[in-house]
Amino acid sequence: MLFNSAIFLFVFLPITYAVFWSLRRKNSRYIWLAITGYVFYGYWNPKFCLLMLFSTLVSYSAGLGFLTAGEDPRRRKLLLIAPIAVDLCLLGFFKYADFTIQSWNWLTAWAGRPPLAPLDILLPVGISFYTFHTITYIVDAYRGHIRPTRNFWEFACYVSLFSQLVAGPIVRFRELQDDLEGIQHKERRVYLDLGWSFFVIGLVQKVLIADTIASVIDPALQHVGALSSASAWLCMLGYSYQLYFDFAGYSNMAVGLGYLFGMHIPQNFNSPYKALNPSDFWRRWHISLSRCLRDYLYVPLGGSRFGSLATYRNLMITMLLGGLWHGAAWTFVVWGAYHGLLLCLYRRFGGWWDALPVLVQRVGMFFLVVIGWTMFRATTWNDAVTLLSKMLVPVDAGAELIGAGVLIAMLLIAAAIAHSGRNTFEIRHRWTPALSASLALLLVLCLVRIIGFKGSPFLYFQF
């Protein structure tokens, strides 16, 4: 079920919302949100609900174990390692098994060995996200940052909360715990206006900006070899803004939905295309993932505490795994390595970079990010290399880019918002009647587009 679908907007959300606010007891609300989360998730494939339930039960049980384990280090270690191993095995099998087989076949093809048959495993939507939710819960419980909950429904509600279930933000239990504990309090209603505002803005970002850009660039990027340099640049600039508004739009909708149910979902994007350098970019882009990678991978590896070489190593490992998290393909690994390299280079030569004028830093950083997105977008190595070569080596000849006029108009609007506008966490969300009417009109345009046009899922669903 997509946020930008008729079934969600006209059936699921109204029913979930109405019933939630009619329930008075805390546990009733936990149960209702957990059930609706499973209905939301099961809409894609009911069988995968069992997987999520299994992951939930394992982590919940481990949390209970921490409550009774006391200070026994061996028991605490076991309670840390076992559920994380289970989660990583699930993630590894469903997401990376076929990738591993393909890579093995590629490696052994040179030796003339017969290829292994792929397993053709169907990737459960959102598995990367909800396994991270449960892993962060376990690690925080182990570190003593949270007190695990005894209430199964509270924990199930946290894992299956539909607003962030399938494409994030990756919300840690400690970030939602206070909201969950006070879920029955009436004053949560003050956030309703804020919730609708975030939701509608997110919908507009996704449907009117990202999807319109996608309708032009997707057909063109299916035939990368036929693009001219100008078209290649237009398409990749388009993709850069499409990805941002698609994901930021989704995150804003998730935040809005959280507010509608009395919960503060943390910010996931902080105007990343205003970033001045690679470190700044990763403090602004997919903030919830960056923080997880930092707190649960980079810092445990040693962070920057053991000298430059160790720091570079830790950065590269973190970004390589971060790239791999996005998808089971070597293009994502290379994209992760690219950003890891940028971070290492910035760490080494940052002083020189920071001395440049701010505008040069911003434009330069955006250019580097766009180059990186070619590997992210390309489905094959050939496409990535072809796209990059067309962007970096001028080629005049190419097929006409249909819809170029619309694309350029959308790029101008997107660029103005992304590079100089305030993001949704910076605006005041207090709408005058005129602005409310404008928002309502934009909402109607969104509905027209959702219903009439060939829709597209959120890009981060595939991760």
Binding site: A6, I7, F10, T212, S215, V216, P219, A220, Q222, I402, G403, G405, V406, L447, V448, R449, I450, I451, G452, F453, K454
Partner: protein, 336 residues
């Protein structure tokens, strides 16, 4: 489809009864049909055809038997409780059913669905039928809403390969006709040409259609299977060349093998490919096709051609047209 070269616009009269069944103009009592037309989806339901031009209407005209259009039901075993539910609402149980099998259908028959749904279907078919009807009612209302219609029109007007790319362009295959016009074929119409169907699939489909015949016979209804090929299978061999020609001949072969398999199982079959094939070349030369050029459905000419042939088959069994004292005039409850 947007950015088409020559639009075919049709004025038509589209009427349904209160339960959503397409009305078939008939001289007799609408709720007392002799013939039930099943399957065929939009072909039977009458997309692009007025009330009096649909296949059931044409069949009624040529066979002189009252006909009921039940084309909105499912084709897999899920459709059987729906048919029982319909039979319980008719004043008289039909003698005959014509089951329209479209070439691209993938039928799966295992005697019905398993689990709770199968138990409901087996024991309370009316409940199952109403649940399905309710689900369709609940999910389809916005598909005919003004917002849906306006949105679709907006989409088609801008997705014309000038303002925005036409996303359906690559999923449409264009065949040039002798008169210079084009036949636009969608991918699913070419499915049997693109995906080779092996003998197992022929056997499975034949077994499924035999199951349908037997299930309807259990209800006192004599079933005929109408094999309906796609436009591509009919005209493709005359318009394609090279590898595409080999593939579309494979699609032809599938229909012929299916017909043979059905006849081996004593399933009463009418093969529309055998009706269209002899006239296809002349139709291409004159430009008087049996199907719409920019839509996959048959036009009134094609409907009448097939309906005439099916009516001949039905009327060749004289017992059916005469009064049959065994046929019950009570509502179709299944008890004879």
């Amino acid at each position: 489809m947007a950015n088409i070269e020559a639009a075919e616009y049709i004025d038509l009269c589209f009427t349904t009864d209160e339960l959503g069944f397409r009305l078939t103009p008939t001289a007799g009592e609408p709720a007392s049909p002799r013939v039930l037309v099943l399957g065929g989806d939009s072909f039977t339901y009458g997309a692009g055809l007025s009330d009096g031009e649909t296949f059931p209407a044409a069949l009624a005209k040529h066979s002189r038997l009252e006909t009921f259009n039940a084309g909105r039901f499912h084709l897999d075993p899920e459709g059987l409780p729906e048919i029982d539910w319909l039979l319980s609402r008719l004043k008289r149980r039909p003698d005959i059913a014509v089951y329209v099998y479209l070439e691209h259908f993938n039928l799966t028959c295992a005697g019905g669905r398993a689990g709770f749904v199968g138990w409901v279907d087996a024991n309370y078919p009316e409940v199952g039928g109403w649940l399905r009807y309710g689900r369709k009612l609940g999910t389809a209302w916005w598909q005919v809403s003004p917002l849906e219609i306006l949105s679709q029109r907006a989409f088609k007007s801008v997705s014309n390969d000038r303002i925005l790319p036409n996303p359906y362009k690559d999923s449409v295959h264009r065949l040039r006709l002798p008169d210079g016009s084009s036949l636009l074929v969608r991918e699913y119409e070419m499915r049997n040409a693109l995906l080779h169907r092996d003998q197992k699939q022929v056997r499975d489909t034949a077994a499924c259609l035999e199951w349908w015949q037997d299930s309807l016979a259990d209800r006192g209804i004599e079933a005929y299977i109408l094999l309906m090929p796609s436009r591509y299978t009919i005209y493709g061999p005359l318009l394609e060349s090279g590898e595409a020609l080999e593939r579309v001949r494979g699609a032809e072969e599938y229909i012929l093998q299916l017909e043979a398999a059905l006849r081996d199982r004593n399933v009463r079959t009418v093969n529309a490919l055998s009706i269209f094939k002899p006239i296809a070349k002349a139709e291409l030369e004159t430009g008087q096709l049996s199907f719409y050029r920019e839509d996959n459905h048959w036009n009134p000419r094609g409907v009448n051609t097939v309906a005439r042939a099916v009516a001949e088959t039905l009327n060749s069994n004289r017992e059916l047209t005469a009064y049959n004292p065994r046929r019950s005039d009570r509502p179709g409850t299944g008890d004879e």
